[in-house]
Amino acid sequence: MTKVLTQTGAIFYDAYRELNARKMFWISLGISLLVVACFALIGINEKGISIAGFTIPGIPINTGLFSESFFYKLMFVNVGVNLWLGWASTILALVSTASIIPDFVSSGAIENMLARPISRIRLFLTKYLASLLFVFLQATVFTAASILVIGARSGEWLWGLMLGVPLVTLFFSYIYCVSALVGVWTRSTLAALLAALALWGVILVVGIAEAATLQWRVGHNTKIVTFQKDVEATQLQITKETQAGADADRLQTLRTQLDRKQADLAERQASLQSAEFWHNMMYAGKTILPKTAETKELLLRAIATDAELEKLLDDPDDQPGRQNRGFLGPADRRTMREVQKIIDNRSVWWVLGTSAIFQLVILAWASRIFAKRDF
């Protein structure tokens, strides 16, 4: 056991030293602290949002809408995690770490590692985990600094934000595992990087397609319900007017309307089947692929209260005195809200479990290549 700990510690310590030697690590860390410094400048009060103490006029977000604590949580999740750690920093991390596995398995370096009393599978998996140190350290420093800055500004110490560290690391690992697979397979840094970016692209496209087909499906469902009500109402009207002895022309007009509405309903129902088919296809694809966006969104689900999350879904039309925001009509907004509720109700198991299965399969494949190869 001591030997295992010694070897694992050595690989992790070496990974840390390797990061220390990479300029990209320090550049990324510097930008992280810059983003946190920006957090320190942004605040919220009853009049709106303030930057460096100056309130920006015309922004309808104030403490009447969100509490100061929730505002900072939102800022951390949306700007810090989704934009910075989840996009820009991830690209820097992928560029920086894509060479780790190809360098590790390159001729001249790998022989000395394999000739040690450590199994190949353990060696590879430990090296893989150590490669995640880049993102883990970035996320830890960023989150800890954010908590300090937000705490100093608002007086609330949001320790729950630390959950962002494992979630961001997990999110990165979904993409990085493919980089590791291609790296060990081809020994090419460029191929490893391109494969990771390609996977990320596929995940994004499938995610957008799934959301779009879900919206299509939900929109049709909503409309079908409306159409069904309309058909029922017309049928009721025909019954009533027949009983009241309405003239034949009037009844004919109503029956024509009913026929048209029933035809529309049938058309919508057929279209719904198509929407369901395509959405099911996209959903299946999404289930197989890792859930990058959903993993990041778990953070907000974990740190925000139910009431705060409900507030995000509030329909401005339902609230007296509130201005209608955006260009969507009430029906579209209802559809969007419904879609968001469906997405939010997806279980943590579905988000993390299926992503973990994807990663395990990829790592098993990469480990097999590493274990079987003659170097």
Binding site: Q7, A10, D14, R17, S106, N112, A115, R116, I118
Partner: protein
């Protein structure tokens, strides 16, 4: 006959075949060698002979197609055994962001050596390989020779019972080579088994107790250096006619000695009038009558010395024989298997 416990490496019938859609490459075709504890064993062969493949099989870097035997008493491929084996790969590359001390600590830890032992051994080893003043310098600042010395130090960080060194003096200056030879001699004296894979035959000859010659994945000869180089053993005598007394001409002397020793004798007359007499024997008693005859004929014996073929002579002879055999096989219609050594 050495017992099993005397053997650091006892590998037999090591086979490595690379198969692809296009061809089959036989890197090793049933090689068997033994390395005893407390001896330096040399592995010789041209490029692509399969030397590195054999070493890599022992170090689990390559999986053999088939291989029997043991290393330090455990089956070949046993990972825990590697904790007591030191390895210096050919063309090794250490992370260039590490200092020499960090390299030793890292690879020591990978071999399962505890921190206290590493702290004790690292400065000692750096001193041993002549890098005591470079312990805190990063590898990227090292010359090739320094890297090689560092490689040797890392191979010893786990105080191994067996060392496998692939081209250990590659890029090292003459002084460094001498240091390495002395170091290996000390390790041998301490009872370590050492397997060296090198192209520099003169160095092996100075250091090795036994050696094996491999060509195209086949073992062609294995034995002590004396055994490998006895094929051309002889005594050589140089003599010249004395000026004071009349002496028979070289031609007459040649005819006289040929009569005495027969076909085993080769006599060469130099332009200076001296003769070089070469008799294929290892027994000094055989040459006494010739010396007597020379003196009786008023020739002055200026030099008598035993001649032994060098390891390079032995190597070239074995390789030429192997190539001749291969050519003969190639021209035999029944033969169709392609032959090639080394890794693809």
């Amino acid at each position: 006959m050495p017992t099993a416990s005397d053997l650091a490496v006892d590998v037999y019938d090591a086979v490595k075949t690379y198969r692809s859609m296009r061809n089959t490459i036989h890197a090793l075709r049933g090689v068997s060698i033994t390395v005893r504890r407390g001896e330096v064993f040399g592995l010789l062969g041209p490029n692509g002979a399969g030397k590195s493949t054999l070493v890599k099989i022992l170090m689990t870097v390559i999986t053999p197609t088939s291989c029997q035997g043991t290393m330090l008493g455990k089956p070949i491929g046993d990972k825990p055994t590697l904790a007591k084996v030191g390895y210096l790969p050919e063309h090794h590359r250490f992370p260039d962001y590490l200092t020499a001390k960090q390299v030793l600590h890292f690879f020591g830890a990978m071999s399962g050596v505890d921190r206290a032992t590493r702290r004790k051994r690292a400065p000692m080893l750096l001193d041993m390989v002549g890098l005591s003043n470079a312990g805190n310098r990063t590898v990227r600042q090292f010359s090739k020779g320094m890297r090689q010395r560092l490689g040797l130090a890392q191979a010893m960080i786990n105080d191994p019972d067996m060392l496998l060194l692939d081209e250990p003096t590659d890029g090292v200056d003459p002084e460094g080579r001498r240091d390495i030879r002395n170091l290996l001699a000390n390790l041998r004296a301490a009872g370590k088994g050492i397997l060296i894979n090198t192209h520099i035959l003169a160095e092996l000859e100075l250091l090795c107790d036994r050696a094996a010659i491999i060509h195209s994945g086949e073992l062609h000869k294995q034995g002590t250096i004396a055994e490998l180089t006895t094929f051309n053993a002889a005594y050589e005598i140089e003599a010249r006619p004395t000026a004071a007394t009349p002496a028979p001409s070289a031609e007459a002397l040649t005819a006289d000695l040929a009569h005495l020793a027969g076909a085993q004798l080769q006599i060469t007359t130099k332009p200076t009038g001296e003769v070089l007499i070469r008799w294929a024997t290892t027994d000094p008693a055989d040459i006494q009558p010739i010396i007597d005859r020379l003196r009786a004929a008023a020739w002055q014996v200026t030099r008598v010395y035993p001649y032994r073929a060098t390891l390079e002579d032995a190597f070239i002879k074995v390789i030429e024989q192997a190539k001749a055999q291969e050519n003969a096989k190639r021209h035999t219609p029944a033969h169709s298997t392609p032959t090639a050594g080394g890794q693809p």
